[in-house]
């Protein structure tokens, strides 16, 4: 199969997960041409990573996943072992910039563009290891014993009368994840924001190497704790595609239950935090009460408040009895009623709306530019949801039968992201009721015999956006390379734009309305 009239042959991946086609670019020029065609067709750059294939194929491999109307196109490009280089895609997809820098830091394959346009600064490497050592190469070893060299990072300077910088973080006044934000401001007005991330780099991708499939799902569930179900499902889906296994229908229903519960829990927490960040602490305590009840029910019936390790390759690690399903339906009614009451309070609170409506706007063009997915993209009016039908796209089971209605809003600002979160809570509650009532009977887990040398890609619509996990197995059927991709990769640069021309004290509110992952990004 071919896409967009480009001469690259794609083959559909096995399994019943999100539709993914695999193809191979003959050379860098073919990759660039395909990327340009995708960008012209309003497609997205979904993920980019590298792998060391010197043991198997004699060189390195670049993997680029594009989001198309019909699904995902996973394109790989083989690179020579000596002087591996590929064309710079950041001119076509700005979101590629940081992904390329991270790939160079970790695998040692670099984008070769024009010397002015390609960013040569490290991204995830903060001086904890030397520039000529690449942790994800097979011959890298453990990498202990490097002296921690302080690295001097060249932020872009903004000059001019009255312009000055405000450095914020990586340690913040609140208990939140670390990240550095460099504001260039005049007075309170933000001229430019530059982020520096990577402070929670913990070598997740290296830890995957050599694990068996069951150990892998535990690690995948810990890439970003607030999206543990999304990551575990994406990983499981990738492994199932690689090994040609289809999970039983009941397992898919249970996974969807967990994913939607994860979505509701995060939206409840964030809506409360958004009220708090605008000075309305009442909102926080109300929403946190709802979230706490929600998590306690998780703890009671799923055995874990965040439902970690409940999704396995081949299915689910638990089954729900009728009383549990009844309790879930009942809780949906209670939370739906209370969330509606709180929505009314938020909607009618003049002070809160004044803060929400004026801050953090991005438009659909910018969302496309940065390949944004998930709630931030839907808040600009883009209908992008891997669970929902759209022109030329049929969602995988169990979503196809549920008729998911994606929540969108045209305004693109904090208010739009709040509105989308509320709408998604109500839609998820509807889905949870349908899933609980119509859960198919049968087994909850299938055997997954590893297929040596196979590979697969899993895509799941997490609460933040599209979570992707690429998996490839080695000759012994163990994990050779796993790459988890968080939607935050695309959303962090969009946040830099969302805050431009707003004022400094509005940044926390704008930031919270996205609530991006540091851990999922820093890996």
């Amino acid at each position: 199969m071919r896409f967009l009239g480009e001469p690259i042959e794609f083959e559909k991946q096995a399994g019943i997960g999100s539709p993914v086609w695999r193809g191979r670019a003959a050379d860098g020029a073919a990759l660039t041409a395909f990327a340009v065609a995708v960008r012209r067709a309003d497609g997205r750059l979904a993920a980019l990573w590298g792998s060391d294939e010197r043991a198997r194929a004699g060189g390195f491999r670049l993997h680029v996943v594009f989001g198309l109307d019909a699904g995902h196109a996973w394109l790989s490009l083989d690179l020579p072992a000596e002087r591996p280089a590929y064309p710079d895609l950041s001119g076509i997809f700005p979101a590629a910039g940081r992904l390329q820098r991270a790939t160079r830091d970790l695998v040692g394959i670099a984008a070769a563009g024009d010397p002015d346009g390609t960013d040569a600064r490290p991204w995830l490497r903060h001086g904890a290891w030397p520039a000529d050592w690449f942790p994800l190469r097979h011959d890298a070893g453990e990498g202990h014993g490097f002296a921690n060299a302080a690295s001097d990072y060249a932020f872009v300077r903004v000059g001019g009368e009255g312009a000055h910088e405000i450095p914020v973080g990586p340690i913040h006044a609140g208990t939140i994840e670390p990240g550095h934000f460099r504001f260039s401001v005049i007075g309170e007005r933000v001229l430019r924001l530059e982020q520096r991330l990577g402070y929670v780099h913990k070598g997740v991708e290296k830890l995957f190497i050599g694990k068996d499939l069951a150990e892998g799902v535990r690690l995948a569930g810990r890439v970003s704790g607030d999206s543990t179900c999304a990551y575990a499902w994406a990983y499981a889906s990738a492994v199932e595609a690689a090994c040609g296994v289809s999970p039983p229908p009941r397992a898919l229903g249970l996974r969807a239950l967990m994913l939607e519960r994860e979505r509701v829990a995060n939206h409840l927490g964030d809506l409360g935090a958004l009220g708090n960040d605008a000075g309305l602490a009442f909102g926080l305590s109300q929403f946190m009460r709802l979230k706490e009840d929600w998590l306690r029910l998780n703890g009671k019936f799923f055995g874990h408040r965040f439902m970690m390790d409940r999704i396995l390759p081949g299915g689910a690690a638990l089954d729900l009895e009728a009383p549990a399903l009844a309790a879930i339906v009942e809780q949906c009614d209670v939370v739906g009623r209370e969330a509606r009451a709180l929505k009314k309070i938020y909607d009618e609170h003049a002070g809160l709306q004044d803060r929400f409506l004026t801050a953090g706007a991005i438009d659909a063009a910018l969302a496309r530019e940065f390949s944004l997915t998930g709630l931030a993209a839907r808040a600009t009016g883009l209908i992008l949801d891997a669970r929902a039908h759209r022109q030329g796209y049929t969602p995988p089971p169990p979503w196809a039968m549920l008729g998911v209605r994606p929540a969108t809003d045209e305004r693109g600002g904090v208010a739009a992201r709040v509105a989308v979160r509320f709408a998604e809570i109500f839609e998820s509650l509807r889905l949870l009721r349908e899933l609980a009532v119509g859960l198919p009977a049968g087994a909850v887990c299938a055997e997954v015999p590893p297929v040596p040398g196979a590979g697969g890609l899993g895509v799941v619509e997490g609460w933040r956006g599209e979570v992707l996990v690429g998996v490839s197995l080695d000759g012994a059927g163990r994990l050779a390379r796993v790459h988890p991709h968080d939607p935050s990769w695309q959303a962090w640069p969009a946040l830099e734009h969302a805050v431009m021309q707003d004022i400094v004290p509005d940044f926390p509110l704008i930031n919270k309305s996205f609530n991006l992952s540091y851990s999922g990004h820093d890996l």
Partner: protein, 317 residues
């Protein structure tokens, strides 16, 4: 001035020192209840002060003597303010030392020192907070002066004690001008005491802070003094508001019975006032910082209205 008057004066100061953290604790407790949270103990601010006084001071490398000196100045200013505002009795030996206009100056002096100290160490947050504080200050002070002029015109004096005597113990007259002045004063008090909707004393978001951003680098006894001074400021403003607009209960002489009544009345009034403050804070969101001038502009407008009402309507009676 009498010996017993002097004793009561010192008692009033001691009472301010003791009651101020209690008022802060009470407001925090009310806020927690209104938000459906379990409240911290009423005495939490005292525990906090106790802890901070027993901690070592960590000084920034670039700190000048001004940074070390400022907490004492700020604390001293607030103590002086509490000494000249009649809380229990109008017979205050210290009151002639400063009138209401000087009182505004005392608050201004404290603000100047804390903003200078915040900028002294050269962190971006300190400068940010200092800058915002001066923005709030230069808008709040004129409004406060206007409020005071209105009350001063009623009593023909700028001495706080005289104003209170006239309002509390003169013939009972309904002054519409005081209603306008009261609204303006409430607005100013919220801004001056770093409360929602202008500032948020509970926030952890360093980029949105005003008062908290200025004191981020303080620790140990310096921080304790500043926290105590902040509590004293809230107490002073509350007492000033009560003295100007609800003066009933404040004793004129220094009879023990009158003063006992005054203490009970004060505590009751502060309890109600603190609960109201918590209520207003709970139902409001923090305004965008560039809306703070609108907020304080409204306060100024109300204060001017009060003055005009006084001039045009009441002075002919």
């Amino acid at each position: 001035m009498s010996i017993s008057g002097l004793l009561w004066q010192f008692f009033a100061i001691a009472l301010a020192l003791a009651l101020a953290p209690l008022l802060t604790g009470w407001v925090n407790q009310c806020r927690a209840w209104l938000q459906n949270r379990a409240a911290p103990p009423l005495l939490q601010p005292y525990f906090m002060l106790h802890k901070l006084f027993h901690k070592d001071v960590v000084l920034a490398h670039g700190a000048s003597p001004l940074f070390v000196f400022a907490p004492y100045v700020v604390f001293g200013c607030m103590l002086l303010a509490c000494a000249i505002i009649p809380t229990l009795s109008t017979d205050l030996p210290f009151a002639p030392a400063a009138d209401t206009i000087a009182l505004v100056g005392v608050f201004g002096l404290a603000r100047l020192f804390i903003a200078l100290a915040a900028m002294d160490i050269g962190t971006s947050f300190g400068t940010l907070g200092g800058r915002r504080e001066m923005l709030i200050g230069f808008l709040a002070e004129p409004a406060l002066l206007m409020v005071i002029f209105t009350t001063a015109m009623i009593s023909q004096s700028t001495s706080v004690a005289t104003i209170v005597e006239t309002l509390a113990h003169g013939d009972f007259v309904i002054n519409p001008s005081l209603a306008f002045a009261g609204i303006a004063f409430t607005f100013v008090s919220f801004a001056e005491n770093a409360r929602v909707p202008v500032d948020n004393p509970a926030t952890h978001l360093e980029l949105t802070m005003i008062h908290e951003a200025m004191i981020l680098e303080y620790s140990g006894r310096h921080l304790a003094l500043i926290e105590w001074a902040a509590a004293l400021k809230l107490y002073a403003y509350s007492c000033l508001g009560l003295a100007l607009f609800f003066p009933w209960g404040i004793a004129e002489g220094d009879s023990a019975a009158g003063l006992l009544l005054a203490i009970s009345a004060l505590i009751a009034k502060l309890a109600v006032g603190g609960a109201l403050l918590a209520l207003i804070e709970t139902i409001n969101a923090k305004v965008r910082i560039f809306r703070a001038p609108e907020f304080l502009g409204t306060a100024f407008l109300f204060a001017v209205l009060g003055l005009l009402v006084r001039l045009l309507l009441e002075s002919r009676v």
